[in-house]
C-alpha cells in the first residue's frame, strides 16, 4: 500500500515537475529579455534538482543525491555569471 502511495505520488510529482521545466524553458526561448532567459535557466535548474530528488525517493537510493546537491550549491554559478555579464558586460573584472 505505502509502496503504491509513494510510487504514485512520486510519478505525479515527476510529471508536474516536468511540466514546470517545460514552462521554464518556454521563457528561455521567448525571453523577451536576457534576464527572463536566465531566470528560466535558473528555474530549470531548480526544477531539475527537485526532479532528481523525487527520482531518488522513487528508487530508494541515496546515490543520486550528489547530483542534486551539486545543483543546489553550484547551480547558481552559471546564472550568476550570466547575470553579471548582463550588468557589467564582463564576468570577472
Amino acid at each position: 500500500m505505502s509502496a503504491i502511495i509513494i510510487f504514485t505520488s512520486v510519478s505525479i510529482a515527476q510529471v508536474i515537475l516536468m511540466i514546470a521545466m517545460a514552462i521554464s524553458s518556454v521563457r528561455m526561448f521567448y525571453g523577451p529579455r536576457a534576464q527572463d532567459r536566465i531566470i528560466g535557466l535558473d528555474a530549470l535548474y531548480v526544477n531539475a534538482m527537485l526532479l532528481l530528488v523525487t527520482f531518488g525517493i522513487g528508487t530508494g537510493r541515496t546515490v543520486y543525491f550528489e547530483a542534486a546537491l551539486v545543483i543546489g550549491l553550484l547551480g547558481f554559478v552559471s546564472s550568476v555569471s550570466l547575470a553579471k555579464f548582463l550588468m557589467r558586460g564582463e564576468v570577472i573584472e
Binding site: A13, S24, T54, V80, M87
Partner: protein, 132 residues
C-alpha cells in the same frame, strides 16, 4: 544501500506523498507565474515559490522517506534547502539590478530613477526622525 518503499508505514507514506505533491505543485505554480506575469519585476517573484517551499516540501518528503525507511535520521537534504535558499537570491538580485539598469537607460516610465529614490529616502529619513 537501497531503501524500499514497502518498509514505510502508510501514514508516513501519506505524509511523504503530501509533501511531495505540495512541493511539486508549488514549483508548477511558480513556473506558471513565471510564464504569465506581465513584467519582469513581477516575474522574478514566481520562481521563489519553487526555491522556497517547493524545495522545502520535496526535501521534507525525502528526509521523511529515507529516515523512516532506513530507520535512522538521514537529513542531508537540509543542506540542499539551505544552499538553494542562500544562492538563488544572489542570481535574482543581480538580474533585477541589471534589469533596473537597462530600464533606466531606456527611460522606462514605471521604474524609479535614482533621483526619485534619493528624494524619497530623504523624506523617509525625515519622517523617521520625526517619528522618533
Amino acid at each position: 544501500m537501497i531503501y524500499s518503499a514497502a518498509d514505510v508505514p502508510v501514514w508516513a507514506a501519506a505524509a511523504i506523498a503530501f509533501f511531495l505533491l505540495f512541493g511539486a505543485l508549488l514549483a508548477l505554480i511558480g513556473a506558471i507565474g513565471f510564464l504569465r506575469l506581465p513584467t519582469f519585476y513581477e516575474r522574478i517573484h514566481a520562481p521563489t515559490l519553487s526555491t522556497s517551499w517547493g524545495t522545502g516540501g520535496i526535501m521534507t518528503a525525502s528526509i521523511l522517506f529515507f529516515s523512516i525507511a532506513g530507520g535512522r535520521l538521514v537529513a542531508h537534504e537540509i543542506l540542499i534547502g539551505i544552499f538553494i535558499t542562500v544562492t538563488t537570491p544572489v542570481t535574482f538580485m543581480l538580474l533585477a539590478r541589471a534589469a533596473l539598469h537597462r530600464d533606466r537607460v531606456e527611460n522606462h516610465p514605471d521604474v524609479p530613477t535614482r533621483a526619485e529614490l534619493v528624494v524619497s529616502t530623504i523624506q523617509d529619513r525625515a519622517s523617521d526622525e520625526k517619528g522618533a
